[in-house]
């Protein structure tokens, strides 16, 4: 059994780049999206992150602004 990466291309950035992005685009200029489960979110999350658990994401895409940069974890 072998695997291939077949995500629709999405830019991957490391945490250093993510930190700069959060610093440069504070507040309303970008969306930080946490797709983990509520308990994980409560245990700790990035400042200002919006929680939409992965199982709900498909039904809740309208809550995210398509035109703003979105950082996902």
């Amino acid at each position: 059994m072998r695997w291939k990466q077949f995500f629709t291309p999405v830019t991957s950035i490391d945490t250093t780049q993510a930190r700069s992005m959060v610093d440069e685009k504070p507040g309303q200029e970008m969306t930080i999206l946490d797709v983990r489960q509520p308990n994980e979110y409560e245990a700790g999350h990035l400042p200002g992150a919006k929680l939409i658990p992965l199982p709900d994401l498909g039904d809740r895409l309208a809550e995210i602004d398509q035109h703003k940069p979105t950082l996902i974890y």
Binding site: M1, R2, W3, K4, Q5, F6, F7, T8, P9, V10, T11, S12, I13, D14, T15, T16, A18, M21, D34, R36, Q37, P38, N39, E40, A43, G44, H45, L46, P53, L54, P55, L57, G58, L61, I64, Q66, H67, K68, P69, T70, L71, I72, Y73
Partner: protein, 193 residues
């Protein structure tokens, strides 16, 4: 899942919250892997979907041995069995779409093996995510990320499907993958305190 829905300014944070908290910058994850561009034919997508279902099953079976948590073990066993059914349905759909009459063995040898040639072994694939196999959270997170890829794949295949029957079958499988994601999500809620 989002990239196909008009979101074109997406950034995935490598290593997730663990990397953020530990302040460890992971290297680039581009290992020269081929990406699925989303413009492939339904036939191509079905071949990859089949290999993904096979991979998911392989993943669940190997993770069952690594976890001591009975709840995780039970759910993984159940999900691994469902993936067999998905494989059968994907193969049936493949035969219909292509009009071919090959056996499942021929399909696996001729099409699936070629599609994943040069890809990663399960071990290498898992290494990309560097999960802590003693951590149920890590294992369930990984399962969720793979199920989400499967869901994304089926939704895109359904969008590109020519006839309504194929679309309905692909959407049905997508719906089942969503249910898997929810089950894994619930399990995660029980495991994280």
């Amino acid at each position: 899942m989002m990239a196909g829905q008009g979101f074109d300014n997406l950034y995935n944070m490598s290593g997730g919250i663990k990397a953020w908290n530990s302040n460890t910058a992971l290297g680039p994850e581009d290992l020269g892997l081929e990406l699925f561009a989303g413009t492939e034919s339904v036939e191509d997508v079905l071949v990859v979907a089949y290999s993904l279902e096979d991979g998911l099953r392989d993943f669940y079976l190997s993770m069952m041995d690594k976890t001591g948590n009975t709840k995780v073990k039970d759910l993984f066993q159940k999900l691994s069995k469902i993936e067999i059914k998905h494989k059968e349905r994907v193969f049936a759909e493949y035969l219909k779409v292509t009009g071919k009459t090959e056996s499942v063995e021929q399909f696996e040898t001729n099409s699936v093996a070629a599609a994943v040639e040069g890809g990663l072994t399960t071990e290498e694939y898992l290494h990309l995510f560097q999960p802590d196999f003693d951590s149920e959270i890590d294992i369930i997170s990984l399962a969720m990320s793979i199920e989400a890829q499967a869901l994304d794949l089926y939704q895109r295949a359904a969008d590109n499907a020519g006839d309504q029957k194929s679309k309905a079958i692909l959407l049905q499988i997508a719906k089942e993958e969503t249910a898997h994601l929810s089950q894994l999500g619930k399990l995660m809620e029980e495991v994280v305190h």
